[in-house]
């Protein structure tokens, strides 16, 4: 292991530790003992086979939304709208599964959700390329548009046949993603997420296209001079990014909920960004960081039910971890500079 990788492990570990300590202090405000609360949190995660399976169920959509942020981030673009693209993917997956109640709906849903939410995302890239519009703002606003679109459709054409709540009918069992471990909710979507993460890694680091994307991210004008068209990269990166977030919609609708509910998983996009920050936007790192965050959510939910510590402590913990991760970027950079300086002075002697 080289020194840089070692630094990443040490500082990330410390960031998580400090995040836990800060949330422990917050637990004190509730008049609870943070140590026993954390012990309960961790034992809840591994209580039985079901909860362990749940960790990977929760990690699955997070891998996708986090990859969505990381992919555009490599091109120095900001897709803050993964939440909206996730809703578009969910809409597509639910509509197709309701229209075609057969197993064939699953591959169609996966492909169409990827394409349509990819187009939704690609439009943001297009606005950036064609009108030099700020992609950060447009992607942020597109989430609210997608949310309202979903609310409208759930109230009208997709409304359940009972017509009571803004949700769809249950999907036919044929269209459910099949379970890979019995007695858990763990479905094949998790495998899909891992495969996609590896594919994205290969695309970014082992193909010319990936090199071009990263080149645009490093220095847009230099990339242009060497014959890369940054505008095309903008559209492409946002298309893939939107598609990835859309896949989270398929795994959630066909794999977990088996229906589409109004405003479900409202923070999947922002947590995805947090995971990407923790994993330094590395697709393989994202898999592990997502599992970590999935585990926190499972533990936090159970803890909230039995101990009276609200599950929002998990959001708080994730927030603290992210802030410390950002501080750890600074520290790593400083160590790196010190090493270079040392090498330089040794070289002079």
């Amino acid at each position: 292991m080289d020194k840089k990788t070692r630094d990443i492990f040490i500082t990330s570990f410390l960031a998580i530790l400090f995040g836990l300590i800060c949330s422990g202090i917050m637990i004190l405000f509730l008049g609870k003992n943070p140590i026993s609360t954390f012990a309960l949190l961790f034992s809840s995660m591994f209580r039985d086979g079901y909860t362990i399976g749940e960790i990977f169920v929760k990690a699955t959509p997070l891998i996708f939304t986090s990859l969505a942020f990381a992919f555009t981030f490599k091109a120095n673009l900001f897709n803050i709208g993964a939440q909206g693209q996730f809703y578009i993917g969910s809409l597509v997956a639910a509509s197709i599964s309701l229209l075609i109640p057969h197993a064939i709906a699953i591959p169609i849903a996966i492909i169409m959700a990827f394409i349509l939410s990819g187009i939704w995302g690609g439009l943001i890239g297009f606005c950036k390329a064609r009108f030099k519009a700020n992609e950060f703002l447009i992607s942020m606003m597109s989430t609210y548009v997608a949310l309202n679109l979903m609310n409208y459709l759930l109230r009208t054409v997709l409304l359940e046949s009972k017509g009571e709540y803004p949700q769809t009918d249950s999907l036919s069992k044929n269209t459910w993603l099949f379970k890979i471990v019995p007695h858990t909710r763990l479905h094949v979507g998790f495998i899909l997420a891992i495969v996609v993460a590896i594919l994205i890694w290969l695309l970014l680091y082992r193909t010319t296209l990936g090199f071009r994307i990263r080149a645009v991210g490093q220095n847009q004008e230099a990339a242009r001079m060497s014959g890369v068209n940054p505008e095309l990269i903008f559209v492409f990166a946002f298309f893939i990014s939107g598609g990835l977030a859309g896949l989270a919609g398929v795994t959630e609708v066909n794999g977990v909920q088996h229906m589409l509910l109004q405003g479900f998983n409202p923070s999947i996009g922002s947590i995805g960004i947090g995971i990407a920050i923790l994993a330094n936007a590395n697709p393989i790192g994202i898999i592990f960081a997502s599992i970590l965050f999935g585990a926190l959510q499972v533990g936090g939910t159970i803890m909230g039910q039995i101990s009276g510590v609200p599950s929002s402590i998990i959001d708080l913990m994730e927030g603290f971890v992210m802030v410390f991760v950002i501080i750890s970027y600074f520290i790593r950079n400083k160590w790196e500079i010190n090493r270079e300086k040392k090498l330089l002075t040794e070289g002079v002697k």
């Binding site: 548009v145 409208y152 923070s267 929002s312 913990m317 992210m322 991760v325």
Partner: protein, 304 residues
């Protein structure tokens, strides 16, 4: 009805102006305050909680400003002192604040059986002026925060363009090296500008909880911080531009509220709720000539 609409538009544009104007000052020094959504939320929570416990709205506003200040200090420490990425940092802080507010809400209030409310800020009719037909009810029958807008816009313009302080602020965003050479600490200017933004955005957030609705929910801000952030861009980093932008968005929001309550089934409600967001997208795309501060978003690293 038109008068009612415009009066409401003036009111709804107030917090956006507080946010956008302070964002203009911060961005002119070269720092985007991307934690703005979180600062709004923190202000909304602190304002509501203080007002509920103390029974005083002015205490609420004061603590909202202080809470916003605290968040902005954390943001400024990470972005200005440690020179970390502004968008990444802002996103992290927004997530942190969202968790913090729902956690603290639970710590302070537990799980209440009925929604907690406070009496929101009252409108103060200015004698004589509020009697002017049409203009009176629109401009002179508002709450105290909206009145302060009439003062803030010209004051902001004057400070930014007619004082030496304004010159320092603008130069820090355009040419920090020159500012540094003239003996002014660039980081200090930026830090203070972000702190100012924190104070103002805290008050802006409190406008939603105690200036208007009289209650707090964790999704009370719902992207309004980002809209203020967008207005700063669309208004070309100019206090007057920001004022025009906030009026347009205030109108959109007032119109949306009007259409929702008018129960016409002609167009879906959701379209009107999404209107301010759609408007932001359209304006972001259609604005051509931007006068972006040269060093916006990049940290100042002193060479040695």
């Amino acid at each position: 009805m038109i008068v009612n609409l415009l009066s409401r538009a003036m009111m709804m544009s107030t917090p956006l102006l507080f946010g956008a104007l302070s964002e203009v000052f911060a961005e002119r020094t070269g720092v985007m305050v991307t934690a703005i959504e979180g600062i709004f939320l923190m202000g909304a929570w602190a304002g509501f909680t203080t007002a509920y416990i103390s029974g005083s709205l002015s205490m609420g506003l004061l603590f909202a400003a202080l809470a916003g200040l605290l968040v902005s200090i954390l943001y400024a420490y990470l972005c200005v002192s440690l020179k970390q990425h502004q968008i990444v940092t802002g996103t992290a802080i927004n997530i942190l604040v969202a968790g913090l507010c729902s956690f603290l809400q639970r710590v302070v209030f537990g799980v209440p059986l009925s929604p907690l409310t406070v009496e929101p800020l009252q409108k103060i009719a200015i004698p004589l002026l509020s009697k002017i037909p049409v203009l009176g009810p629109i401009f002179f029958n508002q709450n105290i925060l909206t009145y302060s807008v009439y003062l803030l816009v010209p004051l902001g313009f004057f400070i930014l363009y007619k004082t030496s302080l304004g010159l320092i602020i603008r130069s820090t965003g355009e040419n920090p090296e020159a500012v540094d050479v003239s003996g002014i600490n660039v980081s200090k200017v930026r830090f203070v500008a972000v702190m100012f933004s924190g104070l103002m955005c805290g008050v802006a957030g409190a406008f939603y909880s105690i200036g208007y609705l009289g209650m707090f929910t964790t999704n009370i801000i719902g992207g309004r911080g980002w809209i203020a952030f967008a207005i700063c861009f669309l208004g070309n980093w100019n206090p007057i531009g920001a004022f025009v932008g906030t009026i347009i968005f205030g109108l959109a929001e007032a119109f949306a509220i009007l259409m929702q309550s008018s129960s016409s089934t002609f167009l879906p409600n959701e379209l009107f709720i999404a209107l301010p967001y759609i408007l932001t997208i359209i304006l972001t795309i259609s604005r051509k000539s931007f006068n972006v501060p040269a060093k916006l978003g990049s940290a100042y690293v002193k060479e040695n």
